[in-house]
Symmetry: C2
Subunit: 144 residues, 2 copies
DNA sequence: GCTAATTTGATAATGATTATCAACTTCAAA
DNA sequence: TTTGAAGTTGATAATCATTATCAAATTAGC
């Protein structure tokens, strides 16, 4: 799940910004791209520690920001006030169904909804930039 | 904009919970229901101070929570990490178009989008509870 | 290898919200 | 009315995720 292309992509972004691809950054890139999606910085910190002890919180946050800037990750500002991160491949935009019991995130896209959103922008005279759609409910497993 | 019905509604909620309708609560109810929508707790605190000095921050937060529980207000968890509040009349649910330049909130509803969201819940085996749709763009005024 | 620039980890700071608590209100019974 | 138990208030400390700071360590191009 961590391709050479991703590494190069990160490397390129850093170089272009006059930054360096350090050991810690490489390790975090690896753990984030190989791990589960929609994790908090704290959970990612834990996953990184498991494999590479000694990397600090600040470096996790700093590197997550770089990964987002480089387009390799997306940051989700969640309702509980904690950010979650997902590696954003070349795959398109998606929205989320979120279980309020177990916290599971399900990725969904509805092209019809996307189209109607564009219409809302236009009708109200807004230049569209982005949107956020979150559907909260109880998943099949949690309903029992 | 602050009807007798609202007052009674708040009073009823408090009574039913064994709570009291105090002076500060009454004043905050008045300022919130008569004022602009989509304000932060801090902005509401300022508006309350203008008319009734001496009411503390904590009381603002506590009363906003009560107003939400009573169904008179809605809390929006915004992307900047600050909550905003709007008085929720009997009017139905709505979503928001938000200008990323001036911060203006425009309320919108698209019944078609609402319907398609329900379908997404169903298709994915979720019991629907609520949703959040925010459309970020640049408003007509800000585009100049 | 050398060295200037960048990065790191520990930790202090920030900022919104919540918890704490002694003093003050409320309200209904006496 | 007076009274007092229950609830409320304002000031302020605590919380918690995220950022900023900074001396010591690492990186990358020469
Ligand atoms: Mn996702
Ligand atoms: Mn609104
Ligand atoms: Zn679930
Ligand atoms: Zn605007």
């Amino acid at each position: 799940m961590l391709t050479e292309k991703d590494k190069r992509s990160f490397q390129d972004y850093l170089t272009q910004k006059g930054l360096k691809l350090s050991g810690p950054r490489m390790k975090i890139l690896e753990v984030v791209l190989q791990g589960t999606k929609h994790l908090t910085a704290n959970e990612i910190y834990g996953n990184v520690q498991k494999r590479y002890a000694g990397i600090g919180y600040a470096t996790i946050y700093r590197t997550l920001r770089l990964l987002c800037e480089a387009g390799l990750c997306m940051e989700l500002k969640c309702e509980d006030g904690v950010c979650r991160y997902e590696h954003a491949g070349d795959d398109a935009h998606h929205d989320h169904l979120i279980c309020t019991k177990c916290g599971r995130y399900v990725e969904v896209v509805d092209p019809e909804i996307e189209r109607l959103q564009e219409r809302l922008f236009k009708v109200n005279g807004f230049f569209p930039q982005r949107h956020r759609l979150e559907l909260y409910g109880i998943c099949r497993k949690c309903k029992g």
